[in-house]
């Protein structure tokens, strides 16, 4: 019998994390992640969380402590946002190269200056090359399910990489939605205890991370790449298994919505991805043959699925981020997936930076511009005062 919890994205993420029974949580508060760590602290007080919550003095130390804890063979979890994620950057690389299956929520928030706490995905995007797997969620239910799925994914013996679960500031982190919860027993059965591939153990005195010459270093990079490639299949398998067990499904690497017979496919992530469904419904009613492929995983990137979709449709990409000097990050990746293999046209839009609202009406406007052949290769939607 599943229970329904009505709460904000952050409290839902805290609940999911605690149900995975991490032994160590190390975290530092930052808006809008704060209520996530407060949620964990409340579970410490209530006794529901039996692990250790280390209140560190910075995000750099949060990730360093998670690395130390994970290296002893146990499960560790953290959460951050924006500048906190950027401060962690060095240790994000470290966690991935050390092959430690740490799970972290990142609440996508604007980077300063100027100070701004609203939704923007440039923080997560800028960690593209750290080796972390990256999810972008579009509902609180998806946050809950993805946190639990992420431990299984990260700890899989063929993956052994950390996972970042991204969701938009306030739009999800501070908005209450009903979420179906499995029982603790069900989670325990579905998510077995971590079996570490290596750990710090006085019975087996090994030195980790010492000087590595170029051929060996190149091998470990290739091994990480192999693991991300393997994860493409595993993410889908885990999502299907979750559906079979709990009846909920948010897609694999992509969530496809009304893509059958579509001549145009809209690609978006996070909260814009959820809003896009309304826009698709409206445009379908008007007879426009358009579907949505919501990108759930930025890493590994679903190049194969996108290429497949491009065989039958042109692509429209909305990015709530900008790789300054080039274009939106997802747009860039999408074009890379098509290169030399597809004749589809691709249109890119930058929208919603700095937390600007992107309602379904605006999404429809962007899509229609592309459908009507009036969109440029890359456009900034609704840019004011330039």
């Amino acid at each position: 019998m599943s229970e329904v919890m009505i709460d904000t994205g952050n409290y839902i993420a805290a609940k999911a994390a605690v149900m995975c029974k991490p032994d160590v949580v190390a975290a530092y508060p930052i808006t809008p992640q704060t209520t996530l760590v407060e949620g964990i602290a409340n579970y410490v007080k209530s006794g529901e969380f039996k692990g250790e919550y280390i209140c560190v003095e910075s995000e750099h130390s949060a990730m360093s402590a998670c690395i130390g804890a994970s290296a002893t063979g146990i499960r560790s979890f953290t959460g951050t946002s924006s500048h906190g994620l950027l401060l962690m950057h060095e240790m994000l690389h470290w966690a991935a190269l050390a092959r430690l299956p740490i799970v972290m929520c990142n609440i996508n928030r604007v980077i300063g200056p100027g100070w701004n706490i609203w939704a923007d995905e440039n923080d997560g995007i800028s960690q593209r090359d750290t080796g972390w797997l990256q999810f972008y969620c579009s509902s609180n239910q998806e946050i809950f399910d993805t946190v639990i799925q992420s431990f299984k994914l990260a700890e899989h013996e063929k993956v052994c990489l950390p996972v970042m679960i991204n969701y938009n500031a306030f739009i999800l982190s501070h908005t209450s939605m009903p979420v179906y919860l499995p029982t603790q027993k069900e989670v325990d059965q579905w998510l077995p205890k971590r079996k570490p591939k290596w750990k710090l153990d006085p019975e087996n005195p090994v030195t980790f991370g010492n000087i590595l010459l170029p051929p060996a270093y190149e091998r470990i990079r290739k091994d990480m790449q192999n693991s991300q490639e393997y994860a493409k299949k595993l993410i889908v398998d885990i999502a299907k298994d979750w559906k079979k067990r709990f009846g909920r499904y948010h897609g694999g690497l992509l969530e496809q919505y009304k893509c059958e017979g579509a001549e145009f496919i809209l690609l978006s992530m996070g909260a814009i991805g959820a809003e896009s469904k309304v826009a698709i419904d409206n445009m379908r009613k008007e007879g426009i043959k358009i579907g949505l492929a919501r990108v759930r995983t930025f890493r590994p990137f679903p190049s194969e699925e996108i290429l497949k979709l491009s065989k039958k449709a042109d692509l429209i990409v909305i990015d709530r981020n900008i790789s300054i000097g080039n274009e939106g990050a997802v747009f860039n990746e999408v074009k890379g997936a098509l290169y030399n293999k597809s004749d589809a046209k691709a249109y890119g839009f930058i929208a919603g930076l700095g937390g600007k609202d992107v309602p379904y009406g605006d999404i429809e406007k962007m899509c229609k511009k592309a459908v009507n052949g009036k969109a440029k290769h890359l456009e900034w939607f609704g840019l004011e005062g330039v």
Partner: protein, 301 residues
């Protein structure tokens, strides 16, 4: 306790990549002997990350995890919590860092770990420079010393890391020196027996960094203590107790030797002696050292 009474077991194995006369390896041998095999060590960027030798080999017979430069103390907090959650709270967790990783880039994480009462031993081997990157200035570099980033000599006096640590009011802190292995051993054993955060700093004269012969490491350490450039002490229950020659200097039972007697053997100070003696700076060094000891007497006697 005499040298011959130290445990015979060696966790510091032959074949390391250390320079001849390296003080870090001398100290590590004693650390391993004092703490035993049920120890886990985390090492940030520092000479030891090289000394431990190349993958797939290691010269350390205890589990060791390398970590980023500023992260040793935070990683130790995580290791300690991870072990405790598995019922392995009896394993000694050590962060082993140089003065760069302690005084400068790692001071925030260290302060955090001390404040949140992590049960570990933080050991700083202080060779007064960034030696691994090739002799650059650190917060521990003494006044007037040449480094590759203080070419005419450092223009500031070093900070007192030990006193910064004491301001955290942790259960135990100590200053030691590689030249006094029995004293170091005893301080390590005491640290191991106490729960909570412990800090031990070891004076570690570096032959290539300080520009002296590789056969004079021990002598340079002894002279650092005898000249009062370095003090041996313990801090326990908010009380500082000087020991060895430092105690005698503090109590004015012996005079400290002139710093000049120590630094004239070190190439890093050669610009103070030739082509012409830099009387002004040598005087500043002696006066500053006297001031430091007057303050020690006021605070700790």
């Amino acid at each position: 306790m005499a040298i011959k009474d130290l445990p015979r077991e060696e966790c510091y194995l032959p074949g390391s990549a250390a320079c001849p006369g390296c003080p870090a390896t001398m100290a590590l041998r004693i650390v391993y002997k004092a703490l035993g095999k049920n120890t886990i060590m985390t090492v940030p960027a520092c000479c030891t990350a090289v000394i431990e030798s190349l993958h797939p080999h290691t010269s350390f017979d205890i589990p060791t995890m390398n970590i980023a430069f500023e992260a040793a103390a935070a990683a130790a907090s995580g290791i300690e919590a991870g072990l405790r959650m598995q019922g392995k709270g009896d394993t000694t967790v050590v962060a082993w860092a140089g003065d760069g990783g302690t005084y400068d880039i790692g001071i925030q994480a260290l302060s955090g770990a001390l404040e949140r009462n992590t049960n570990f031993i933080y050991i700083c081997y202080n060779n007064e420079i960034y030696s691994n990157t090739g002799i650059q200035r650190s917060g521990a570099t003494p006044y007037a010393a040449w480094t590759t980033t203080t070419v005419g000599g450092k223009t500031e006096f070093r900070k007192e890391m030990g006193e910064i640590v004491m301001a955290h009011h942790i259960p135990y802190a100590a200053q030691a020196c590689v030249s006094y292995p029995e004293d170091l051993f005893k301080k390590l054993q005491k640290a191991k027996s106490i729960k909570g955060p412990k800090y031990i700093e070891i004076m570690a004269p570096c032959p290539p960094g300080w520009r002296f012969g590789m056969d004079r490491t021990v002598e340079m350490g002894t002279m650092a203590v005898e000249t009062g450039a370095w003090a041996l002490y313990e801090y326990e229950n908010d009380k500082v107790t000087f020991n060895g020659k430092s105690k005698l200097i503090l109590e004015k039972k012996i005079e400290r030797k002139p710093i000049e007697d120590w630094i004239k053997y070190q190439g890093r100070f050669s610009h103070l002696f030739k082509p012409k003696k830099d009387v002004k700076r040598l005087k500043e060094i002696e006066e500053h050292t006297d001031q430091v000891w007057e303050r020690y007497r006021k605070c700790y006697l």
